[in-house]
Symmetry: C7
Subunit: 76 residues, 7 copies
């Protein structure tokens, strides 16, 4: 799917499956990883995840389910 | 559509599709970008996004899905 | 409509359409502007908006959609 | 209605229509005014309102719609 | 009703109608008063209320409707 | 019921009825008491309750209804 | 089930039943334990739990029901 075809916000997530994304969370937390799954609450599963706090990597995680309600934005 | 035709708040978003908008979020965060999509939760997709914190640009993002529940206001 | 006719809280908003209102938000933020539209979530569109923080004007905005869940009160 | 007749919490609000009430809000904010209207979300309209912060009057407002979700208590 | 008969949490409130209760709220606020009414959101009406902050009485109120969502616990 | 039989989280609460539990709440608050009742919102009634703050006992309560939305965890 | 088969976020939890997981919560709290059960609110039951705060173990718990709404992420 060409990413010009975004008419609903979650199309961005559909287009990003299998690709690297950046997540910014409330409280200066960030995650970088490959998007594996998401649901209508914006809960997401990332693979090969770097967890950053105030810009510094604090943890490397194989896979994580991140709750949607802590997310500020997701960028492909 | 003439923007005098706003009778419901989300008409403002309909009128702003494809145009630059300013988003202010809780926690002194701002985003400037072109509005590509939105839904009934006020989740939005912006393109060519500048992320600002306390007025200073901290990140440039090609495209981002921003959660509606972190938004204070959207201005076209 | 005479504003003595308020029997439900949102009648105040109906009466204020097209008129100047003051909005106080959580976090010492205020907006002054003309009320153009509102919905059942108290999301509002203001025109010719002054944004104030701790009583000082920090931004002038032509038009803004302000989320209802950040509002403390609306005064006509 | 005799105020001994309160069997549901919102009966207190029904009994207080047209009478002075005190509202305490999250964040040391208080409002004193005459209760004009309320709804099931505890959104209220007050008339002839004094807005107080930490016990000091900071604003006098003719009429205000105050969101229910910021309220701690309402006392007639 | 014997208070051994509590099989659902709100039975505690049913048993406490007309009796003194202690309410602890978020933000070190407490209320002591006689429970007059409650609803399924845990909104309560207290009579002859002492409002305490950090353990010190700051206000005496004849009657108050207290929102359920600010409550930590209610003790008969 | 053998506590290996937990297939849904609330089975833990069913198994703990009549037994001592530890509750940790947001804001460094803890409660220790005997679990008497709970509902689907995780509202619980405890008996013979010790209330602790930062690990120190600050109150002893005969019985308390504690709101589910302030709870971090419940341990039998 | 092979963990490549994650098409919905909660599949990650299904795959992790009976296995060790790491939970990060709001407020620098972490839990490590074996996942025994979960529900659609992301409420989880862990066994043989270490509770950590700012990276230091502060409590060892046999079993705990942890509320979903305090979770930032769950990693198998």
């Amino acid at each position: 799917m060409n990413d010009m075809n975004i008419s609903r916000p979650f199309d961005l997530l559909n287009n990003a499956i299998g690709k690297p994304v950046l997540l910014k969370l409330k409280g200066n937390k960030q995650f970088r990883g490959k998007l594996q799954a998401f649901d209508q609450h914006m809960n997401v599963v990332l693979e090969e995840v770097d967890e950053l706090e105030d810009g510094k990597k604090i943890e490397t995680i194989g896979k994580a389910l991140i709750r949607g309600d802590t997310i500020i934005y997701i960028a492909p």
